[in-house]
Symmetry: C2
Subunit: 406 residues, 2 copies
Amino acid sequence: MLIVQKYGGSSVATLELMEAIANRITKTKETGAKLVVVLSAQGDTTNKLMGLANSANPTGSKRERDMLLSIGEQQSIALMALILQRMGHGAKSLTGRQAGIFTTSRHGDARIKQIKTERIAKELDEGNIVLVAGFQGESEFGDITTLGRGGSDTTAVALAAALNADKCEIYTDVAGVYSADPRIVADAVKLPEISYNEMVELSSMGAKVLEKRSVGLAKKYGVPLWVLSSHGDEEGTVIKEECSVEGIFVSGVVANKNIARISVSGIKDQPGVWFKIFNTMNQSDIAIDFVYQTKHAGGTKDISFIVDINRLDDAKKAIEANAHKITHAAITHDTDMAKVSAVSTGMATNPGVPSLMFEALFDAGINIDSVSTSEIRVSVLINKEHADRAAQVIHKKFQDEKYIRG
Amino acid sequence: MLIVQKYGGSSVATLELMEAIANRITKTKETGAKLVVVLSAQGDTTNKLMGLANSANPTGSKRERDMLLSIGEQQSIALMALILQRMGHGAKSLTGRQAGIFTTSRHGDARIKQIKTERIAKELDEGNIVLVAGFQGESEFGDITTLGRGGSDTTAVALAAALNADKCEIYTDVAGVYSADPRIVADAVKLPEISYNEMVELSSMGAKVLEKRSVGLAKKYGVPLWVLSSHGDEEGTVIKEECSVEGIFVSGVVANKNIARISVSGIKDQPGVWFKIFNTMNQSDIAIDFVYQTKHAGGTKDISFIVDINRLDDAKKAIEANAHKITHAAITHDTDMAKVSAVSTGMATNPGVPSLMFEALFDAGINIDSVSTSEIRVSVLINKEHADRAAQVIHKKFQDEKYIRG
């Protein structure tokens, strides 16, 4: 049995918390399993280091920022190795590079290209618990890179895939994947299982439990992925290819308030404008959603779309920088919107999910600005102030209709 | 012109101090020189990390301690690169490994085996200021090592040697090498120059300005070594092979209170006992000094010697562990002693230096416990409470006799 575990920053924020995690690691090790543990930086270390970097130079090279940020995880793994050694276990910490994680040289948002597992395999064979620094790797130039958002989850899943691990366990502050955010929807239930595809959609729609990228990677390599609480001993949620329960079930309802709508207005209606806007966003690696256009009598049109609120400035800058390609009159934006989504694999063959969702919103008197769907997801754009209530009434409607498992 | 500079931890303790150092680096860079800058960890970072390591595990593996300690220098170089970039300079930070520094695998006290300069040379050719993390390298197993005490000085000198630099500048809190510690001896003068050999003796005797190891390395490779203030613009001290001034000059008077005397008593007087004690100390890498023996009527003898007070426990443990080889009755120690030394290359041919030293101590009524000499150094062991006064009266005597330059 080979298990890859990942613990996030809040689970290792202090030596006392690390001690508790070390006990958990030890328990797994004592079952006889080979164990690779990926750690994030302690608590708010990464934010503090970012603050330092910004104080030194708000626009410095990303290479140097990666050099700085990567020390947080290095601290975590070294301390955990020392704690495990004190508990009588062989333990070795490995930086991203030492763990054989080689990436593109896109600093701050690098992609894993290859994992050379020799060193990890050697340490496991010698009976060591292997602690790997999450979120980091090495570029072809021998430079330290970081993997961007959710990077430690990605490290864990990629290692599980490369090592052909029996499972990859992601330990978090919550006990698993819920049918909605329990802080907003009191009746939300923990799902025993969910498919990769549903989880990708939930993550894309703003569920914070897992970053979409790590789920996509798990799907690609068929890594059985568990989401578990780092505190209790509850069963978590397993994310896998196909789920055993048949029927129309909704995996989750997600309200995402961290969005902004950008409108590019007064565009001359000529071929290629769509392409140019999408291409501009794509080159800046900005995901867009809810795209629609409004045509005006004078031959011009407006194009609107949704971006993550954290990318609003980047998106506006990217469009301005390409203004010569996209003749337009004005760029405006709006941060008063929220996106509420429901994800269900059953949706493809059954229109029940969207119609129940619209009904719940209608009953609650919440106006829908626009709708966007995929094969397994329906999303509505509404006013931000109604977001939580929308999630509540939609979730309740699904529960009343037995569309939520458990 | 290729210059290697090194700045210590107190010079880079805060972003404000780093800014001042960055201005100094920039000034050198603007003379057209190629510039490699070695940095220590900020302020008391290394001590804090050691404290963390000890909290996690006071007896954990040195490999993991090195993994933890090495992040301090990585933080310094990344921040300095960001600051220099903000000032409009190309700057790249390199970890020990990236700088091509390969060491033995003796964690915590590794020795540099080889420096592969390709990466540094490439960055210099591209016009970058290269910032190298001091105190660290990589072992043949791909693990991060640290170089032990004075490690960043050693990094700087070793890089200067490998790069065939025109000079190696060590920036410190003091303006150069003084004829005595100015905090104790008010009349101490800054030396314009000093030979490698004298500096090695001064460092060995307890002068803190440079670690003996880095001076020895500079001597081995003929690296012109400067000690300068990181604050002012004063001329510093150059350390080189031969000094231009002829005559009997004393380079320095050093009082070292950080020593302990160990006595192994009741040893059976049989062949090999000396060898066994020295060999035991040598294998534990503990330098010893002031060795002497006392023979007793019953055929036993006592052997006493001096060690650094920080190595006292290690030394006692090492002897205990080898007790079966060294039949003895008791180990005792004494921490009330101090060693006061005078270093002078002229001493070899002129006995004036020791006799002036003894005279000064006699005049001051300070009793000498024992004496030890080398070709260019004389040391006395005295009671610790008289150490500062001894340094003062000896230095004054040399000054009165014009044995101190300047």
